[in-house]
């Protein structure tokens, strides 16, 4: 009889796909934040 290990498989894929999604989100958030900073700094440079 095949052991019932489906729950562990689901947990494993949640960690793998969730971890990858989290990393992608962190990249997007950091990129947008840097773009905002850059725009603010460029505005400040133009004023000076």
């Amino acid at each position: 009889m095949v052991p019932q290990t489906g729950n562990y498989m689901i947990a494993g894929y949640v960690v793998i796909l969730g971890g990858m999604a989290l990393y992608v989100v962190s990249l997007v958030v950091r990129f947008r934040s840097r773009l905002r900073e850059l725009a603010a700094l460029e505005e400040e440079t133009a004023r000076e």
Partner: protein, 226 residues
């Protein structure tokens, strides 16, 4: 910073398509292993995640070497990007491996040579960021980090070979002569490895762009404070 290049958008779309196809193969094509049951299916993405981790550290070591040879800051940006991705995927590999181990080894964790070496490898690359954050001068930081990325890479082959060199309970699925997998499992495994390699390329490109943008922001900030 220019808008996302078309080639990167294509790479992103390809990554998503390949991931969906790989999941289709894992759940619809590869057979269920009889002694482990469904949890064996974690293997395909667990090994692929660890592969990306090691690939990231390899790219970082090469970028470190190129930085030392040429002195161009772009290699420092590539190096940081590769280490960060390597760390993230190695962590995913460690946690997913622990979940696989619970029903198979009857424990979440054991001090097996592979588990020890992969943990040491992870800690070495966490320390890489600690080293960087401790040095203010950008040139010195990049130079020390490059040397560290090259020396730290020694932990990668040690981790890879640990299950072949020492007595370990960790499975050795691929040996130099054969693969302990059925043809469908082997095809799914190879496809997953290819998929994760493409995902790595896409993520590395994005992370390098982020690094370049951060450098641009820092330069402008310095100009304003001068």
């Amino acid at each position: 910073m220019k808008s996302t290049p078309t080639a990167l958008k294509v790479l992103d779309a390809l990554s998503v398509l390949l991931l969906v196809a790989a999941l289709g193969l894992v759940f619809g094509y590869a057979p269920t292993e009889r002694t482990m049951g469904l949890v064996q299916k974690v293997f395909y993405f667990h090994v692929s995640a660890n592969w990306v981790g090691m690939l990231g550290f390899l790219v970082a070591a090469v970028a470190g070497g190129l930085y030392l040879a040429k002195g161009s800051p772009k290699w420092d940006v590539v190096e940081v990007a590769a280490v960060e991705i390597g760390l993230a995927f190695s962590l995913i590999g460690i946690v997913s491996g622990s979940i696989w181990a619970r029903p198979i080894w009857n424990t979440w964790w054991t001090w097996d040579p592979r588990l020890v070496t992969v943990t040491v490898m992870e800690l070495i690359y966490i320390a890489y960021f600690m080293l960087r954050s401790g040095i203010e001068d950008p040139d010195r930081r990049a130079r020390y980090a490059a040397v560290y990325a090259i020396v730290g890479f020694l932990s990668v082959p040690l981790t890879f070979l640990s299950i072949r060199m020492y007595r370990s309970i960790h499975p050795v699925v691929i040996t130099s002569t054969k693969a302990e997998l059925s043809p469908r499992m082997f095809q799914t495994f190879m496809f997953s490895l290819f998929t994760f390699t493409v995902v790595f390329a896409a993520l590395l490109w994005h992370r390098v762009r982020l690094g370049q943008l951060t450098a641009q922001v820092e330069r402008l900030r310095l100009k304003l404070t001068d």
